[in-house]
């Protein structure tokens, strides 16, 4: 039994195999975060429609702010249906949303939250995260980029403007 490098060298493919090895990312098991409690920021919110029935909703994007999964993202959908409306109002009110019109504008700040995250598995075995509950613990005014140009924008919302 020879060494792999010897075999590849004999085949003239050592360089290309080595390059492929070096430039190929290992397949991730999945992008699902482990269940547990996280400190995460709500960094974005956007209007959505469900793919199957076109149900209108609003999706919150959470980004883990502390710990080994820092930077990891998960999402929480709030649906505008009769059945879900009370939960949707409960969740959005945590962000100061009292009127649907407020959702026409981007979130005015970053909302740092304590989040309890679970994992749901569907009939096909696909796994995904589910936000069990979240509580806003701090409202953070985001900082401009380190290379932001001098001078603001007439169109930018005033700093500190809220919903």
């Amino acid at each position: 039994m020879g060494k792999l490098s010897s075999i590849l060298r004999q085949q003239g493919s050592l360089d290309s195999i080595k390059s492929a090895w070096d430039t190929t990312a290992a397949a991730a098991d999945n992008d699902v975060l482990p269940k547990g409690e996280y400190v995460a920021d709500i960094v974005a919110g956007e209007a959505i429609e469900s793919r199957t029935k076109g149900t209108p909703g609003y999706r919150l994007t959470f980004e883990v702010a502390e710990g080994e999964h820092t930077g990891g993202r998960f999402w929480h959908e709030c649906w505008f249906t009769e059945a879900a409306m009370s939960r949707t109002k409960r969740d959005l009110s945590k962000l100061g949303v009292t009127d649907l019109e407020q959702l026409e504008r981007p979130l005015p700040a970053v909302f740092r939250c304590n989040v309890k995250l679970a994992i749901r598995r569907d009939d096909d075995g696909n796994e995904g995260n589910r936000v069990r509950r979240f509580e806003v613990v701090e409202v953070i005014t985001p900082e401009p980029d380190a290379f932001a140009p001098d001078g603001g924008s007439e169109n930018a919302p005033e700093s500190g403007e809220t919903f």
Partner: protein, 322 residues
């Protein structure tokens, strides 16, 4: 000389993250210099072009977060970028990058030190040709002309390009930033390194970033100016042809039908999806129907749902206004 297009955006982290308004030259120089502020240990992207004050109208938060969807204003770039991937085959991509660089050096009055060449940190190369050679001015169609010039060069050099980077707001990996999947850096290469170093060794070198000096700006070159002019004319003809697609049309573009049937390959997916949506809009296609017609093929082509929705919406807006 005052740069009329000083602004750009920057993304820290994966390219799905927020785009924030920056002074483009300062940001680019910081990445080149491996400045701490650039955070080169993280993924980082810059806008593919620079913009004027028009982009400020897209600021949606006090921190300079931008919503660039559908932006079609004036833009410009200091470099004409060529993105060479060759389906992830590093040996072929290296050979292609070498051919392209050799062709450019042969055709135009440009010194090899005035080009910017990078290994992407994954499987390909980004080659930057200074647009001062072409005397290229900012415009609403700069990206389309740039694409035409790049494609002409690529055809003559027998190189296949990824053309997604010519979309006005498509993020482009920042120099020296770390690639999210490989952990390697988008590393600067001298032309000598590109030509002489084995592909595997180029990959190895990208384990570490490398600070580099920004090249001198070469003077305009007669041939390059003529090439840009020719591309401008071709772009204008294509634009006119699209405008001729008026209410008398009875047939969808072949590309639209092909997209619905077969989807598209990486590199062309966003563009073809956007074009297909614009084409459907020319026929007065309702948004819901357009999404229903295009979404499955787009998802099967590997685009994430958010990208699919955005490209279709942008295409529909474009088709309605044309």
């Amino acid at each position: 000389m005052i740069n009329a297009m000083p602004l750009g955006y920057r993304i820290v982290g994966p390219c799905s993250r927020e785009r924030r308004l920056v002074d483009y030259d300062r940001a680019f120089a910081a990445y080149a210099d491996c400045d701490d502020l650039a955070q080169i240990d993280r993924e980082g992207f810059l806008s593919p072009f620079q913009y004027g004050d028009a982009i400020r109208s897209r600021v949606v938060r006090p921190d300079g977060t931008l919503d660039v969807r559908g932006f079609t204003g004036p833009h410009w770039s200091r470099y004409l970028w060529a993105d060479i991937d060759d389906d992830g085959n590093i040996d072929r991509a290296t050979a292609s990058a070498r051919r392209l660089v050799a062709w450019v050096l042969e055709r135009y009055q440009v010194d090899e030190s005035e080009l910017l060449v990078f290994f992407s940190g994954s499987k390909g190369f980004h080659v930057g040709i200074p647009t001062s050679l072409f005397a290229a001015a900012s415009s609403d169609v700069f990206g389309r002309v740039a694409r035409q010039v790049a494609e002409d060069i690529a055809t003559k050099a027998d190189v296949r390009l990824d053309t997604a980077i010519y979309n006005i707001v498509q993020p482009l990996r920042a120099p020296n930033s770390r690639h999210g999947k490989t952990g390697r850096h988008k590393r600067f290469l001298t032309v000598d390194e590109l030509i002489q170093v084995r592909p595997a060794a180029i990959v190895e070198r990208s384990a570490e970033p490398l600070a580099f000096d920004l090249p001198e700006t070469p003077a305009a070159d007669e041939r390059a100016v003529a090439d840009w002019q020719s591309a401008c004319e071709q772009t204008n003809r294509k634009t006119e042809a699209v405008r001729c697609c008026d209410n008398d049309r009875t047939e969808l573009n072949l590309a639209t039908l092909e997209f619905i049937r077969d989807g598209a390959d990486e590199g062309d997916r966003h563009r073809l999806l956007y074009s297909a949506a614009a084409n459907l809009a020319e026929f007065g296609c309702p948004p819901r129907l357009a999404h229903a017609l295009l979404t499955e093929s787009a998802l099967d082509s590997g685009l994430p749902p958010a990208d699919v929705r955005r490209a279709i919406d942008n295409g529909l807006s474009k088709g309605v206004t044309e």
